[in-house]
């Protein structure tokens, strides 16, 4: 997309793809690898003299400092000057204590170096990334699906997803094909749109006396307290009487209030996941959102969430005051949960209104169907049950009341009922039943719990077929146990026969806490059909044309559009279904090279720019305004910069922030490292959720508000909430809403380096590594040119969990010239950050793990003792610092370095390749002399404009 003739190859050999923390070594000079040696032509003498003046003192054939003879190198045609360029650009060279070239001289030297480079042009095209694909289709169809994770990550070891070296494979194309279908199915479901339903529930799937320390019945609902399991996982409890019938958006409304005499809010974490019994280790669950509860009177609090049909909603409560109290009366009281969905923003649905605008849309009126307050599946399908016998007070209804503290029991007094003991479930409407759901009852001695069972079917309730399934059941735990039939049945009668049961007194008994049928919920409430009341080929042509302009960001001639129009027309002709026909054309377009390969085919220069802008800033396709401006080819000059401004202000630019943070700051590795609960017992899901939000909010703010680039390094504010403030040891922040918080001068926060997210993502969750963190800063923030470690340099490794600090070992780098040459520019950054542990918390002493006996048992004080004091001092380029305050001061002393690195990163993010040296000269030219003049949004806008037009103002 850039209009500069000479293109970069790639930057210098930066450190390896996965920064190997303990092996970044060696001297940079060995990377000035020489091309084919030939005699040099005469070149402009002036820059050469400048090199002679400023560099040859150390780097000539006599001194050869660092093994570099610059005198000889510069004579070689086609020498690799990339590392030289970077060292000069960021003022790593000449060293601070030597004479420095003036600004003009430096410029001349850089330009000359750039002109000497023969860099390989980057590939002229790249594939669309999976995130761009999903966002684009969402915007085209008006859907809001998060399906990027379903597509394999093809970024490999490249820094940026946009990297043009990433090539499309069959596997990726196949994934795009199937996700396209999934999204089109969602926007235009072939069977119709599921009806909106309304559920009310105040019951949990599991209840057991031993859970009273976590959840207990309270007034009309449930009181949740902090529920952390013995293994440290978040216990979250699943709501009963609600299973999403279809994938879609749902409103969850909690009537809730805080119970407890303390200032902080209580947090309700709302998760979705496959039901698991609380005693089991949780299966992966998604955190849907957090409700911050400070109100002492009931309030309705709403979350809009996306749910899949196999998921249930579960709740975990967090407050540092309510951890496992036997008779606690503090926590979040949830009176009831109301669920509404699957929702449509409007009716007829947005997808239809978007792509079929102007055509008559036929849609049944939509109404909300209220699901009876508490209803079992059996009741829902019009069924009922009968039992072989019952004890008074323990009737069959007790199996259907949503509680496993009440139960059905066979008669034991005055006489003991004789076997067989059974429950018959009647299915009068002949609904397809997949199986049975069974729970033991809890809270008693367990007499009569079912150990063995068999299931039989019957058409008349009299003659029973041979058992279709037999099995054993867990008797101790009150979890739901599912008995799936080998195949679905619509038989009228199902008999659950107890073949074996716990018998404490030698009598024949049977008892059941809950028993219900398992049915397919899908479409139980019916579907609303939506269709287009036309079958005119011309209408279809129009629809295709409009969609193609949006998807391809171009105007296609009739001939160009023909393949897409024809494939839909053919379908319309054969099947007569307008929507289906249009879908086929849409699918072809979003799987076509015009859509998947960037840049695409554009009918004028404005469309080209609009497509690139939308891709970079929104990870999507242009909107109507951009298309309108493109149609009349107006996207240049002031209009262009106004559009960049508008696009940055649009909410869709948050996608860019997230994507850029994921890639630039490597937050994409977020989920891969979980801090050790032995060392960091305070780390929890809530913190894990909010830490990256802080980083994103901060970068978002810097760009939106055009803050100085120096704020990347330091500022007196960040974006925090109660949980983050607690983590950082700050008082007075109440509630989980993210807001700007100003730090007093003694707080070591502000800027990216001391942000919890960054500090966590640079460790393995146990120990911190100054090398890893140092390399991260060198690479991502400062842009120090580094070389990969060479072979056969002995590694220095952390000694996990022992009192000798890694720092002491790293000092060994000093003992080897080969190591020290590079590590003196890497490790010190990490030293300053040793004041922060693997979760980003401030520390003055190291934590040393203590062994625990037997199985790990979570406890608030963890398993560690305090070890040696942290030494955060260091020296970088002959500047000494005591701690992170000092380091920040040093970094701030040269804002150009920071701005230059940011510009390079953003350039690479936007273009999919590293800037060539000539482009870097231009990037350097964008950086203002005065630090306060050098602003984030300006820089982003300039880099973008330059990328699109080749103009750098």
């Amino acid at each position: 997309m850039i209009k500069i003739n000479s293109h970069p190859r790639f930057l210098l050999p930066l450190i390896g793809w996965q920064v190997c923390p303990f092996l970044i070594c060696y001297l940079w000079s060995c990377f000035l690898l020489l091309g084919p040696i030939s005699s040099a032509p005469a070149f402009d003498e002036r820059p050469k003299q400048l090199f002679q003046k400023y560099c040859f003192d150390c780097h000539d054939d006599v001194t050869e400092e660092g093994g570099l003879d610059l005198k000889r190198l510069l004579e070689i045609r086609g020498f690799d000057g990339r590392l030289l360029f970077e060292n000069l650009a960021v003022q790593k060279m000449p060293p601070a204590d030597m004479d420095q070239p003036s600004a003009n001289e430096k410029q001349a030297m850089l330009e000359w170096l750039a002109s000497q480079q023969k860099e390989r042009a980057p590939d002229s095209f790249g594939r669309m990334s999976r995130h761009e694909f999903v966002h684009s289709i969402n915007d085209l169809l008006g859907t809001n699906l998060n399906l990027a994770e379903v597509i394999p990550d093809d970024r490999g070891t490249y820094d940026f997803e946009s990297d043009r070296r990433i090539k499309l494979s069959r596997e990726m194309l196949s994934a795009y094909f199937s996700v396209a279908d999934e999204m089109l199915d969602f926007g235009f479901p072939p069977q119709g749109f599921p009806q909106e339903q309304l559920w009310l529930t105040n019951k949990l799937k599991d209840s057991h006396p031993s859970y009273d320390i976590y959840v207990r019945d309270y007034k009309d609902g449930i009181l949740f307290s902090w529920t952390r399991a013995n293994n440290g996982n978040s216990y979250s409890f699943f709501y009963d009487n609600f299973d999403p019938p279809a994938a879609g958006w749902y409103d969850l409304t909690f009537d809730t209030m805080k119970i407890g005499e303390f200032a902080e809010d209580i947090s309700i974490q709302v998760h979705a996941g496959k039901y698991y019994f609380a005693d089991d280790r949780p299966q992966p669950q998604r955190l849907l959102g957090v409700i911050s509860v400070g109100n002492r009177e009931l309030q309705a609090r709403k979350l809009r969430v996306f749910l899949q049909p196999d998921e249930s909603v579960s709740v975990h409560c967090y407050s540092k005051y309510t951890f496992r109290q036997k008779n606690g009366d503090q926590g979040a009281y949830i009176k009831q949960l109301q669920i509404r969905g699957p929702l449509q923003d409007q009716w007829p649905p947005t997808s239809f209104q978007k792509v079929f605008a102007g055509l008559p849309i036929k849609a049944n009126p939509r109404k909300t169907i209220k699901v009876a307050d508490i209803q079992t599946h059996l009741e829902r399908i019009g069924g009922h049950l009968s039992v072989s016998s019952f004890q008074q007070g323990m009737e069959k209804e007790k199996m259907q009341d949503g509680s496993n503290r009440t139960f059905w029991h066979t008669q034991f007094t005055p006489t003991v009922a004789k076997p067989p003991h059974f429950v018959i479930l009647e299915n009068p409407r002949g609904v397809e039943i997949k199986g049975l759901s069974y729970s033991t009852w809890s809270g008693g001695n367990g007499n009569g719990q079912v150990k063995g069972y068999s299931v039989q079917f019957s058409d008349d309730g009299q003659t029973w077929e041979t058992p279709i399934i037999k099995g054993v059941l867990e008797t101790r735990l009150p979890n739901e146990q599912t008995i799936l039939f080998p195949s679905k049945t619509s038989k009228r009668f199902i008999r659950f026969l107890v073949t074996d049961a716990v018998s404490l007194d030698g009598k024949s008994l049977a008892s059941v806490g809950k028993l219900d049928v398992v049915v397919d919920q899908k479409n139980a409430a019916g579907l609303s059909q939506v269709s287009i009341a036309t079958s005119a080929p011309d209408d279809l042509r129009q629809v295709m044309k409009r969609f193609s302009e949006k998807a391809f960001a171009s105007e296609l001639s009739e001939g160009e559009l023909a393949p897409y129009v024809d494939v839909s027309l053919e379908s319309l002709e054969k099947q007569g279904d307008f929507v289906k026909a249009a879908r086929l054309g849409f699918k072809a377009m979003i799987c076509s090279p015009r859509f998947l390969i960037r840049p695409g085919e554009y009918s004028n220069a404005s469309y080209t720019k609009a497509a690139e802008l939308a891709r970079v800033l929104w990870l999507s396709v242009p909107d109507d305004e951009l298309l309108r401006l493109s149609q009349s080819n107006q996207l240049s000059g002031k209009t262009l910069s106004d559009q960049i401004d508008r696009m940055l202000k649009d909410k869709k630019s948050e996608r860019m922030i997230e994507s850029f943070c994921d890639q630039w700051l490597n937050l994409r590795a977020w989920k891969k490292v979980t801090p050790s609960l032995k060392l960091y017992p305070g780390y929890d899901d809530l913190l894990n959720y909010y830490l990256p939000i802080e980083a994103r909010s901060y970068l978002h703010h810097l760009i939106q508000e055009n803050r100085p680039v120096t704020h990347l390094i330091d500022s007196d504010y960040s974006f925090l909430n109660q949980r983050l403030a607690q983590h950082y040891g700050l008082r007075g922040v109440v509630g989980q809403g993210i807001r700007r918080v100003t730090f007093s001068a003694d707080v070591p926060r502000g800027g990216l380096l001391t942000m919890g997210a960054v500090l966590k993502v640079t460790t393995d969750g146990f120990d911190t590594s100054p090398i890893l963190r140092g390399a991260w800063i060198s690479r991502n923030i400062v842009g120090t040119p580094l070389s990969p470690p060479p072979e056969n340099v002995k590694a220095i490794e952390p000694k996990s969990g022992d009192a000798v600090t890694l720092r002491e070992q790293i000092e060994q780098h000093k003992s080897s010239d080969a190591c020290y040459h590079c590590h003196k520019s890497i490790d010190p950054y990490g030293f300053a950050l040793e004041g922060f542990d693997a979760t980003g918390q401030y520390r003055t002493k190291y934590r040393v793990r203590k062994p625990h006996r037997g199985t790990f048992l979570f406890r608030l004080q963890g398993y560690y003792q305090l070890g040696k004091s942290v030494d955060t001092s260091g020296e970088i380029d002959q500047d000494q610092f005591e701690d992170v305050f000092g380091l920040k001061k040093i970094l701030l002393s040269d804002h150009r370095k920071i701005a230059y690195n940011f510009a390079k990163k953003f350039f690479e993010y936007a273009n999919g390749y590293k800037p060539s040296l000539q482009q870097r000269v231009v990037l350097l030219g964008m950086i203002q002399e005065k630090d306060d003049d050098c602003r984030m949004k300006d820089l982003v806008t300039r880099v973008l404009t330059y990328s699109l037009t080749g103009e750098s103002r």
Binding site: G16, D154, S169, A588, R594, I597, S800
Partner: protein, 410 residues
């Protein structure tokens, strides 16, 4: 003599003869003998093995290896010493990309990989099974050891439940058929558009690159359409759900799936990339960052933990080989018809060096040598070339190969 029921035909489809064979259905019935197919599996432990524990200290005697001495199938395996990939001097972790390709300097910024040996094999012998190959990995990283003929990474599968479903899950065949027809319509439409795009001329490379990919997709659709005629094999779900040692469970399940896939003849080529993350893993007796521990620097207490992880992998491999050998097939066992190659891109991950790569060849019906120490450093691609020849892929060379050294006997 019992007839094969319609139900079973539906259940096992075209793979029935094999399924009967391997699942030992109607043991009484002797189906007409089918020559068991030859299969192959590649396993890359990307952080390698600590050499002193891995290689036998006494030449030729596997019981002198700390890791391998407990393995049950010693008579069906050969440990090779002195393999390497040329051109990995400064490759570090990037060397993993070249494990099955042998392409030099994978760390270079303009590196383009070459085809991996498993893909060459898949092209040759993959067409006869529902899945021409099965790429597996532990984590969701998007790339492993399989690379196509343009050097593009083939994303491995990592989710056991999804893999099980892919191999054995019930399918709505009518919906799948509609889906394939729909996709084929789309593909035809795209060919038409590409034709006119090509006429414009200035974007030929771009369009050609896409055409190559869509041609492959078209082939895949044909392959899938063919396999619609046969139902997937039905096997009980034997995957473990133990979450205490999630890492071990993952590895165990991937081995289990490999075994089931081979047993049901769902595929004949499997590549298992054992990749890593910075985060800590938990194996019996040790918790820690696998990568952090791999930089042991010779420290005893670090090695103690590291060797627990490595030992665990060896134990899982042992179980896999043993179970493969318990499944009778033809005159031998499933293992006898499956060559299992275990190796690493690192010779010594502590120092990031790529000499003397730990290499095991097991099964495949070879007359195994226990322990073969090559005299000189030998390109691992020599072994790959030999394996290609052994699977009737007639190529003169592969990667950095010099010659087929006939290292495998029998």
């Amino acid at each position: 003599m019992k007839e094969t029921s319609r139900r079973e035909i539906l259940k096992y489809g075209a793979a029935l003869p094999l399924a009967m064979h391997s699942l030992d259905l109607h043991a009484v019935t002797k189906p007409k003998p089918v020559a068991p197919p030859r299969r192959i599996m590649f396993i890359c432990n990307s952080l390698g093995f600590y050499k002193p524990n891995f290689f036998p200290s006494k030449r030729g005697d596997l019981s002198s290896s700390k890791y391998l001495k407990g393995m049950e199938k010693k008579e069906k395996m050969t440990v090779f010493e002195n393999f390497f990939h040329p051109g990995m001097n400064t490759s570090n972790h990037d060397s993993e990309k070249s494990f099955l390709t042998g392409a030099a300097s994978p760390e270079a910024p303009n590196f383009t990989n070459t085809i991996s040996v498993d893909q060459v094999l898949a092209k040759q012998i993959g067409g006869d099974t529902r899945y021409p190959f099965l790429p597996l990995s532990i984590y969701d990283r998007g790339w492993g050891c399989s690379w196509n003929d343009r050097g593009v990474a083939i994303p491995p599968l990592h989710d056991e439940v999804q893999i099980f479903d892919k191999l054995f899950g019930e399918e709505d065949l009518a919906a799948k058929r509609r889906q394939i027809l729909n996709d084929q319509q789309v593909v035809r439409c795209l060919y038409r558009d590409m034709e006119q795009l090509n006429k414009k001329g200035d974007n030929a490379t771009k369009i050609d690159s896409y055409r190559t990919v869509i041609a492959e997709l078209e082939q895949q659709l044909q392959h899938e359409a063919f396999w619609l005629k046969a139902s997937k094999p039905v096997v009980p779900n034997t995957l473990s759900e133990d979450q205490e040692f999630a890492f071990c469970t993952k590895v165990k399940n991937l081995f289990e799936l490999s075994k089931l896939a081979f047993q049901t003849d769902s595929t004949r080529v499997i590549t298992f990339s054992m990749d890593w993350i910075y985060g800590a893993i938990n194996v019996p007796g040790a918790t820690g960052g696998w990568h952090t521990l791999s930089h042991h620097g010779g420290k005893r207490e670090v090695l103690e933990k590291l060797s627990r992880i490595e030992m665990n992998l060896v134990e899982q491999l042992d179980t896999f080989l043993r179970e493969m050998d318990e499944i009778n097939e033809g005159s031998g066992t499933l293992l006898d018809h499956t060559t299992v190659v275990v190796g690493s891109n690192f010779g010594d991950s502590s120092n990031h060096t790529c000499h003397n790569l730990p290499t095991i060849v097991a099964g495949g019906g070879y007359r195994h040598q226990h322990h073969t120490v090559l005299e000189n450093p030998t390109p691992l691609c020599n072994l790959y070339l030999e394996l290609l020849h052994r699977h009737n892929v007639d190529v003169g060379h592969f990667g950095s190969s010099q010659q087929d050294m006939m290292l495998l006997k029998g």
